[in-house]
């Protein structure tokens, strides 16, 4: 019988759910004896792994075709493979297969009977395929959220649309619903390349969907029925409420404003709406899939109520009012509610007496007493166990310190020589103190880890022992086991290891002692997790030599001001491996792929909307020197995979620096994250040519790696450059014509050195710095200007007219810097 696989696959889906919840608990800050993959993959495990399997099983049951079972098999097996550490490519590819087969199922159903709702479900399944395929291509899960939500929400909405045919609704009402779904689809598609805009569109569609469902859906009628029918309606209506809340949050905030908003945005939709739908449908779907009798019992309201109340605690107390205790207690009770519901449902299916087809609807009130008689059985037991776990977990959550379990590979029970050493470790931005712990071989080492920083951190050792993700102020005890060899330790939050959050447990002859912390930053390695020590720094044998093949100079021409007074641009923050000097390749952190980042140009009063998409594994932000406001709010950090739109009005003219201001700022600026923002002073005279040169220093790290932070700290650049490359404009000179006026904008990005911009053979007749002209043309007898002195983080412009054709060098007159790259030419023609 083609329904049989359901007996295996629904439990498999539940197993995936358990792993997904396990990962969810780890994300809530609990230390669990597991690797981090189920925490990292939590979102996918719950949406495609658990719910995807459920939905695919439902459709396979409906279609009654053997091949249709490939869909839930793909998602269940793929998810379990991921959990058990199979190659990510395999698990993710199986998820893609599951989605593709599901699309096939809808196509087959379309052949049986065409309908709008079936088409919409097909569209939803395409969302699954898109999300899984992008994940296979290593897209960050955070950027797949609109697609994952689309798969689930559209599937559910299509089901409601189908049922709306049973209601006396106008054609227009039904068309409205389809139109809202279409808007959502647009938002989800847009989100794949611009999630700032896409997420807001999706949020608007959610609000509209919730409005439609709350006013038009069948549940408004069936809530007046009795028994299981009413239970379903209550679950549905509560879910619609959460969809409205989630939608408003998506619409109002976009994504990734901060962790708390994000937590609320995701869980309002995925837990409040989607899980409530699952609760509502399970009493009907489970028996039809498993073909077993199911006795609905009102006790199922307990987990339903628990789900919604705990979500309120989490979102209102935890996310809105910033109570960590409420967040954790709410979160773990979410898990308890799910477990209680699954236990109750499974219990009813496994232990109910009687044949398949036992009365299940609440319409026949004669049977009410018989239900009550059976209340003592597993549904009630499940709920009781759930509540017991809840009480224990709240005590656990409130204890302030999470227990620690080392992974199985580490930590034998006792030390060889019986001695135990305990060392306090402090985590903060962006270091681990002490950076070196020396321990005698055979010592059992216990680390008392405290997060003394302002962000979340953890500590993982190379033997596999690790703490949970700790919130600021939280502590944990990490059993490092018996020390037999040197170990590395680091924070696993993306970017933190590269930014310096590393430590080392070294072997010593003596007792365990702590070393000093100077090594923290010097260990800076690239973006990889490889524990290898970095190689020697790259060296360029001839900074002025011929550039490597494929090198192209950054266009020094100042771009014209774009039409209009509002300038919208989107930049992707990317790690780019590029040639930065002859023979030297570095992984530069870039605004939109170049060093310096794109030059912005506007007039006083213009509005800039700069959307920055963070395609890296590290948090970055953007500081426009021309804006006003507390840095914490105006210079919003952008989490990996997230995006943010910085908006400001250019009230002041000038040659402004923009740069990444994320700690450690010296590293972010020393590794390429800066550019020029030019706001023309009013009444600027027209010139024949305008150039913009951004001065900066380069600090070569190992070949292919990021820059050397120790050199940045020591102010020992390998090259000082205009527009990112030593002697760039010696290889590609700037052009000008004799007699033409040329304006050169100079911005010094540093990070540390000042510039004295000078053109050999042609004094300036105009100098503008910090809002003032220190020299105007027309009166050479009164004086001329020889350099434009620009300090790090400052900028200005000069104008000159080359009297005769020829080659004119330009440079910083700090000659040591000019000799290592800050030199170029003007090629002046007749």
């Amino acid at each position: 019988m083609s329904r049989r696989p359901g007996l295996l696959l629904l439990p498999a889906g539940v197993v995936v759910m358990l792993f997904g919840l396990w990962g969810g608990l780890a994300r809530l800050g609990y230390t669990l004896p597991a690797d981090t993959s189920s925490a990292d993959d939590h979102g996918i495990l719950m949406s495609l792994g658990f719910l995807g399997t459920l939905i695919a099983v439902e459709r396979a049951v409906a279609l009654r075709a053997t091949w249709a079972w490939l869909s839930p098999v793909g998602s269940a097996v793929g998810s379990i493979a991921l959990v058990f550490g199979a190659p990510a490519v395999l698990g993710r590819a199986l998820l893609v297969v599951g989605g593709v087969v599901l699309v096939g199922v809808y196509i087959a159903l379309h052949g049986v009977q065409r309908s709008t709702h079936n088409t919409l479900m097909g569209v939803a399944a395409v969302g699954w395929v898109a999300a899984a395929a992008l994940w296979l291509a290593n897209r960050d899960i955070a950027r797949l959220v609109p697609l994952l939500a689309g798969f689930l929400v559209i599937t559910i909405v299509a089901e409601r649309l189908e049922l709306s045919r049973l209601l006396q609704l106008s054609r227009r009402a039904r068309r409205t619903l389809v139109s809202i779904v279409a808007v959502f689809v647009v938002g989800a598609v847009v989100s794949t390349f611009d999630d700032g805009v896409g997420v807001r569109i999706c949020g608007g569609a959610f609000v509209a969907l919730a409005g439609w469902l709350l006013t038009c859906d069948l549940a408004r009628r069936t809530v007046r029925q009795r028994g299981v029918t009413r239970f379903m309606a209550v679950g549905l209506l509560a879910g619609y409420g959460w969809l409205a809340v989630g939608g408003a949050l998506w619409l109002g905030y976009g994504f990734h404003v901060d962790d708390a908003v994000y937590d609320a945005q995701l869980h309002a939709v995925f837990l409040g709406f989607v899980m409530s739908m699952v609760f509502a449908h399970a009493p009907v779907i489970a028996p039809s899939v498993l073909r077993r009798a199911f006795q609905y019992r009102p006790v199922l309201y307990v987990p339903l109520l628990l789900l919604h109340l705990s979500l309120m605690v989490r979102v209102v107390g935890g996310d809105a009012l910033s109570s960590d205790d409420a967040w954790q207690a709410g979160g773990i009770t979410n898990v308890v509610a799910l477990l209680a519901f699954v236990a109750g449902t499974a219990g009813s299916l496994l232990f109910v007496r009687g044949r398949a087809g036992a009365p299940s609807s609440g319409v026949d009130s004669d049977r009410t007493s018989r239900w009550r008689a059976r209340l003592s059985t597993p549904a009630a037991a499940g709920a009781v166990i759930g509540i017991a776990v809840l009480v224990a977990s709240i005590a656990f959550a409130n204890s302030g310190t999470t227990a620690t379990t080392a992974s199985a590979s580490a930590a034998p029970a006792a030390a060889a020589d019986g001695s135990t050493t305990s060392v306090a470790i402090s985590l903060r931005e962006m270091s681990i103190q002490p950076a070196v712990v020396t321990a005698k071989p055979g010592t059992k080492l216990v680390l008392r880890v405290a997060n003394d920083g302002t962000m979340r951190h953890d500590l993982r050792l190379s033997n596999g022992a690790h703490t949970a993700l700790l919130k600021p102020g939280q502590t944990a005890t990490l059993d490092a086991g018996v020390v037999t060899k040197a170990l590395d330790g680091w924070c696993t939050v993306p970017g933190h290891r590269a930014a310096g959050m590393t430590m080392r447990i070294a072997l010593a002859a003596g007792d365990a002692t702590t070393g000093d912390s100077a090594g923290g930053m010097a260990n800076m390695s690239g973006m990889t997790d490889a524990a290898s020590t970095p190689g020697p720094d790259a060296v360029s044998s001839n900074l002025a030599g011929a550039p490597d093949a494929g090198w192209r100079p950054v266009d020094p021409t100042l771009p014209p001001v774009a039409a209009g007074t509002t300038h919208n641009v989107t930049w992707h923050v990317k790690d780019v491996k590029m040639t930065v000097a002859p023979g030297v390749t570095q992984t530069m952190w870039t605004f939109d792929g170049t060093v310096p980042g794109p030059a912005l140009h506007g007039h006083v009063g213009d509005v800039f909307n700069v959307t920055v998409v963070n395609d890296t594994q590290m948090t970055h932000n953007l500081d426009f020197h021309a804006e006003e406001g507390p840095p914490a709010t105006t210079m919003t950090p952008i989490a990996p995979g997230a995006s943010h739109t910085y908006r400001f009005v250019a009230d002041r003219a000038g040659a402004w620096l923009y740069h990444c201001g994320t700690a450690p700022m010296l590293m972010h600026m020393g590794n390429g994250m800066y550019g020029a923002l030019v706001i023309d002073p009013p009444g600027l005279s027209p010139v024949a040519r305008q150039y913009v040169l951004v001065g900066s220093e380069l600090f070569f790290g190992p070949q292919g790696d990021v820059g050397d932070y120790a050199k940045m700290l020591a102010d020992k650049p390998d090259a000082v450059v205009f527009n990112g490359y030593p002697f760039a404009y010696q290889h590609a000179p700037l052009s000008a014509s004799a007699g033409d006026r040329v304006r050169i904008w100079i911005v010094d990005a540093g990070p540390t050195r000042s510039m004295a911009f000078h053109v050999v053979g042609e004094p300036f007749d105009t100098v503008y710095l910090d809002g003032a002209y220190t020299l105007r043309p027309g009166d050479p007898a009164a004086g001329g200007a020889q350099t434009l002195p620009v300090d790090p983080g400052d900028g200005g412009f000069v104008e000159l007219t080359f009297a005769q054709p020829g080659k004119y060098p330009f440079l910083t007159h700090a000659m040591a810097d000019a000799a290592i790259g800050a030199t170029g030419y003007f090629d002046v023609s007749k």
């Binding site: 159903l109 049922l163 398949a356």
Partner: protein, 109 residues
């Protein structure tokens, strides 16, 4: 009273009557009033054949309703076998609902 029925034999009307107890759990309305049951035939040997549809072929409730129907008809001693055929032609239409079903679902006029 008909002697045959007294002995537990059934005709299609009696089956249809009994099927009013099989309720779509999501709607709280029985499958007969929903217009899902197209045809009931009762053979001489007590074989009942039911031709019915669902509101949509993507609906997984087919098996569940089949079980419910089986359970419901088993109370007739003379029913030996129940066969449920799910058909999609003609497709179900809201117009197939009885007035009673429409009333329960809030239709007016």
């Amino acid at each position: 009273m008909d002697a045959l029925q007294w002995l537990g034999s059934v005709d299609s009307d009696a089956v249809l009557d009994a099927l009013h107890e099989v309720i779509d759990p999501e709607l709280g309305v029985n499958i007969v009033d929903l217009g899902l049951v197209y045809e009931v035939t009762v053979g001489d040997e007590g074989d009942v054949a039911i031709r019915m549809t669902l509101t949509t072929p993507g609906c997984p409730l087919g098996g569940y309703l089949e079980d419910e129907i089986n359970g419901c008809l088993r109370r007739f001693p003379s029913v030996r076998d129940v066969r449920v055929d799910l058909v999609w032609d003609p497709p179900w239409q809201p117009a197939a609902m009885t007035d009673e079903a429409k009333r329960q679902l809030g239709w007016r006029g």
